[in-house]
Amino acid sequence: MTNQPLPTAPLARYLLHLADDQLVMGHRNSEWTGLGPILEEDIAFSSIAQDQVGHALAFYEYLNQECGLADPDQTAFNRPESLMVSSWLVEQPIGDYAFSLVRHWCYDQAVYLRYESLSQIQDPALQALATKLRGEVKYHTFHANTWMKSLLQGSEESRLRMLTALKEVWPMALGLFESWSGEKALMEQVGHAGQPWYPGERHLQQHWQAGALESLVLWSVDVEALGLHKVEPVLGGRQGYHSEHLASMLEEMTAVFRLDPQAEW
C-alpha cells in the first residue's frame, strides 16, 4: 500500500473526491453486468459504469501529472481505506434495482452540477476535460430521469419500491455534499470568466436538492410525507471514514494486484 498522504492543495483534494466517487460508483454499477432486470439495463448500467471508471482515470491522470500524486493504478488501487475520500452513497452495495436506480439518479445529477462548475475553471486542460465529461453525464441523467419516471408511475409495486429506495438513498445523497477543509480556499479561486468557479458544497447541495425535489413533485411524489425535507445527511466519507462496505470492496479490487506486487498485469 502506498501511504502517501492525501493532497493538501485544495484543488487536488477536490479532484480526488470526484475521482474516488467515480471509481467506487463505477465499480458498483458494473456489478449489474449480467444481472439486470432486462438486458437493456445491464447494458445501460455497464455503459454508465465504464464512463465513471473512465472519468476517475482521467482525474487520477491529472492528479498524477499536475499535482504530484502516484500513477493512476497506484492511487486508485493501492490506498488504504482511511485514505479513500469517496462518499458513503457510492460504496453501498447495489441492493435491488430501485436502490441502484435512485442512487444513480441522485448521484449523476450531483456530478453534473460539479462538472458544470468545474468547466468554469481557469486551467484550460481541466476546463476542457470537465466540459467533455459533462456531455457524457448528461446522458446518464437522461437515462435516470426516464427510468425514475417510468417506475414511479409504473405499477403499485414499482412505485412503492421506488419510494422506499428514495427514503434509503436520500440521507447518503445529501452526504455527497459534505463540507471539507479546503472548501473556503477553493471558493476563492477565480475561474476563466473572472468569477469564482466553485460555489462550495452548501450551495451545490441546495441547487441539487431544489432540482431533485422539483422532479419528484412532478412525478407526484409527496416529498413531505416521505420526510425528505427533514433528513440528516450521512457524513464522513470525505475524511476517510467509511461504512463497512468499502473495505471489502477495496479488498476485491486489489485481489489480483496483491498476488505479486512485482508483476505487471
Binding site: T33, D42, S46, Q50, V53, L57, A263
Partner: protein, 328 residues
Amino acid sequence: MYGGGYIPAGVEETKAQAESPELLAQFEARITRGEKIEPRDWMPAVYRKQLIRMIEQHAHSEIIGALPEGTWITRAPGFRRKLALMAKVQDEVGHAQLLYSAAETLGKKREDMLNDLINGKSKYSNVFNYPAETWADVAVIGFLIDAAAIVNQVANSKGSYGPYCRALERICYEESFHLKQGHSVFVWLATGTPMQREMLQNALNRWWEPIMHFFGPSDTMSQHTETLMRWKVKMATNDVMRQQFLNIYVPKIWDLGLSLPDPELRKDESTGQWLFTEPNWDTFFKVINGDGPCSRERLAVRKVAEERGAWVRAALRRADARYATPLA
C-alpha cells in the same frame, strides 16, 4: 462468445416434404442460389424450429457467458484491464440482445426463451459451466474461447437466415476486439513473472478439455446433419471447425512456451490434420444435461436475476411495449 457448433438433433426431411413439396423446392432453390430467407418468407416448420433452437442457445450462451467473466470486472488489475473487460462483457450481453431479437423474428418471445433457459428446457454452451478461478482464466476465456466462438460465428454468418446472419456480422466485428484483448492479457501473463506463467499454465490445463468439447462431438458420432447443411443452418461440421481452430491457435500457444495437456496433440504434416486424444464425450453429455461443475450455480444466478427483475418488467409492461422491436 458463442455456444459452439453442437446442434442436438438432425432434421426429419420428410416432415418438410409433407408441408408442401413445391414450396420446399422453391425454398431450397433460393438457398442454393445464395439468397437469404427473411422472416415473412415461407420456410419449413422444422427449419424454423431448428433455427429458433440454435439462435436461442447462442443467445443464452452470451448472457450465461457474461457471468464467469463478469465476476472478474471488480477484480481486474488496473484501469486498462478493467475498462477493457467491462466493455467486453457488455458486448456479450449486447450480443444476447441482438440474438434474442433475431430469434423473435421466428416467432418465439424473448421472455419465453429466458424462461426456457431457467427451467432447463433450452441449453447453452457447455464451456460456461466451468468456473473462472483466477485472473488467468479470464485470459484463456478471452483469447481461446472467444477465438473458438469466432470460428463458429464466422461460419454461421454465411448461413441462410437473414436476421441471424446480420446479427452475426455485427457480433463478429466486436468479437475481433475481444480476441485482441484476450490475447493481450494472455501474452502478458505468459511473458510475466514465474507466478503469472504458472497461473496461466494451470488455467490452460483446466480449460483444454472444455475447449476440445466446444465444437461438439466428432462428425462420426453426431446424428446426420446433411439437411441442415444443405439448408445452410449448419455451415461447417464440428470436425472441420475444430481443425480450423487447432490449426491457428495451438502454434500460438506453443510459441509462448506453454504446453497443452495432451501428449498426442500434433499436426500430421502429410494430411494437414491435427491429431489429438479424443476428449471424454461422456463428460460432455453429462455437462450438457446439467451436471457440470457450475451448471446449477449459473442457472441459479440467472434465475435470481430474473426473479429480482420481475417487478421492473411488470411495471414496464404497463407503461408500453418498446422492447419488442427486432434490432437486426
